[in-house]
C-alpha cells in the first residue's frame, strides 16, 4: 500500500469514526442537488437506458457510462467547499 493510500485510509477512518464522513456526504448531496448536478445525471442515465434498451441495461453499464461524466461535472465551488470543510476538520482534530 502506497503512502498516499495509507494516508487516505487514515483520514477516512478518522472521518468515519467522528461521524464527519456522513455529515460531509449529506452536505455534498445537498450541494449537488442544488446546483442541478443530480438532475443532469438523471437525464444522462435516461439517455443511456434509451441507448442500451431497458431490458438489457445493467447497473454496471450505467455506472461505467455516467461515472466519468459525473466526476467532470462537479462544480469547482462544490469541490472547494468540501475541501475546506475537510481541512478544517483535520486541523481541529489533529493527533
Amino acid at each position: 500500500m502506497s503512502k498516499e493510500s495509507r494516508m487516505r485510509a487514515t483520514v477516512n477512518q478518522k472521518l468515519t469514526e467522528m461521524g464527519e464522513r456522513e455529515r460531509l456526504k449529506e452536505l455534498l448531496r445537498a450541494k449537488l442537488t442544488e446546483c442541478g448536478w443530480k438532475d443532469q445525471m438523471k437525464a444522462h442515465c435516461k439517455e443511456v437506458i434509451k441507448d442500451k434498451g431497458l431490458e438489457h441495461v445493467t447497473v454496471e453499464d450505467l455506472l461505467v457510462e455516467i461515472t466519468p461524466k459525473g466526476r467532470a461535472l462537479v462544480p469547482d465551488s462544490v469541490k472547494k467547499e468540501l475541501l475546506h470543510r475537510i481541512r478544517a476538520f483535520l486541523a481541529q482534530h489533529a493527533t
Binding site: T16, E26, T58
Partner: protein
Amino acid sequence: MPHLLKPNQSFLSCSNQVPRFHDAFGTSNMQRLLYFCRSWFLVWTCSRSVASCCCCSGGLLSTPGMLDMSSRASWIFAFSLASSWWTSWLSLSMLKNTAAKSCICHMCGAHLNRLHSCLHCVFFGCFTKKHIHEHAKNKRHNLAIDLLYGGIYCFVCQDYIYDKDMEQIAKEEQRKSWKLQGIGEKYTTWEPTKRELELLRHNPKRRKITTNCTIGLRGLINLGNTCFMNCIVQALTHTPLLRDFFLSDRHKCEMQSNSCLVCEMSQLFQEFYSGHRSPHIPFRLLHLVWTHARHLAGYEQQDAHEFLIAALDVLHRHCKGDTIRDDNGKKANNPNHCNCIIDQIFTGGLQSDVTCQVCHGVSTTIDPFWDISLDLPGSSTPFWPLSPGGDGSTVNGESHLSGSTTLTDCLRRFTRPEHLGSSAKIKCGGCHSYQESTKQLTMKKLPIVACFHLKRFEHSAKLRRKITTYVSFPLELDMTPFMASSKESRMNGQYQQTVDVLNNDNKYSLFAVVNHQGTLESGHYTSFIRQHKDQWFKCDDAIITKASIKDVLDSEGYLLFYHKQFLEYE
C-alpha cells in the same frame, strides 16, 4: 496497513469466517444476548420475504424461476444487515467504531470500495476490486447485498435484482439509521398508493409544467376599486407552499355554512390553475370578505396591506378543521399554538428586548407577526441616518445609488436599539423602580414567507399623505444580521467577519411585489408576480403582461413578499 480482522470462533457457529464483533460491543453477555435477539427478529421478518430472481436459478435453492430464502440464508442475511445497520442500536459511539473497524473487506481490509456482504456465509468483500466476485465464484455463493444501499446482487444474472419486500426492509432500516445519526427525515421520492394509481388511471388528462408555461397566471376583473384585493390574491396564489396545500386538497372544512373563506380560496386556486385564460371574476370572494371583515366592506378603495392582514386572519380562523390534534384526538385549544397552514407559512416571532439602563437587566418578550411594517425616510418619525459604506452595507448586493435608501437600511433601523426616553420609563424587575431603558427588536423566528410593508401612507393628526421615497429592494435577501441569534453573538464579542456560506436558513427570494400608483385619495394597485426563476409578470387587474426584472426592482414597492430559499423538515 489497516488491521486485518482474523477469523474467530464466536457464538455463531454456522460459518468459519467471523469478524470479531464482540470486541466492538464489549464482552457483556447481556449485550450479546440483546444483539442475538434482535437478529432473530430480523430473521423472522426476512424468512417471510421471497427474493425472486426469475432469470436464473442460481439462487440458494435451485427451484427454477423462484428464489427462496432458507432459514439459514435468512439468518446470514439478517446477520450481515444487522452488522452494518443495527449495530447502531446498541450505542451510537459503537456505530462509529464498528463501521470503521468491523465492516471491512475480508481480502484487503478496505471499507470504501462498495462493500458487499455474501448472503450464503459471513463474508465481506469489495465490489470495485472484485473481491466479492472471487468469493462468489469460488464458493458458488451467488447472492450478495450492497451494504450501503441494501441492493441485492445476483452473480449469475450479473446485475442487481429487485424484490419488493427486501426494498421495504432496506427503506425502513435506512430511515432508522438516519434518525440515529441525527439526520432526521430525508426527502424520498413520491411513490403512489394503490388508490392514487387508480385515480390517475381514471383521469388520464395531464398538464405538463415546462419552463415557459403560464399555468397559474390569470387576470382578475376589477369589481369597483377592488384592485387592492386583486393584488393580494395574485400574491397568495403564487405563494408556492400555499399553492401546494390547496392544489393537493388538504383543507377539510368543518364549517356548516357556505361561508368558509378557506374553501373559497381552494376554489380560487382551482380557477387559477385550470388553464383558462379569460379573467376570473372574484365576486364570491369579495362577498365573503365583506361578510367576515366588515371594516373592508364598501366600494371605496381600501388598503392592500389591511386587506392582507384581514384575509390571513379570516383564513387562519377558518382553518380550524386543519389544525393538528393531540394524542387524545382533542384539538389544541390555545389559539396561539395553531398549526394551520397560514401559521406554518406566514407566522414569525418578533423578539423585543427591553434593557434597563441602570442594572442592565433584560426583559424579553416574543410576539407573533405576519408582516413587518417598516418606517421610511421622509415620514414624520425621524429616520436613523445611515452612511452607505458602513459595515454590511453590501450584504444584500443592493444598488446603492448615492443617498437612496435600501430595504436593508429600513431593516437595520427597525432592529436598532431605541432609547425610550425619560417620559417613557419602564418598571424594571431588577431595580424594582421606574428606570430609563432601551428597547430593541430582532427576529426570533423567521416565517417561511416574509412580508415587508413599507409604510407609505401617513395618517398623522397633522396630515394625510403618501411617501413616495424610492426604496431599493433586492431579489435575494439574507436576514441573518437581523436575527436575535446574530445579536447575541455580536454581544458575546463574536463578530461575523465573513458570511457563513454553509448556513442557508436565513436566505430569502423575492416572489411578489405590490405597488400603489397615485395619491392617497385616488390610486391604483398593481402587482409583480414571479412565475419561474427570473420570469416575472405584471398583474394589472384583468391584464397580465410579461415584465423584466428591472421593471420589478425599479418599482416603488409597497408590499414585498419574500420566500425562504431552503425548506427543511421539522
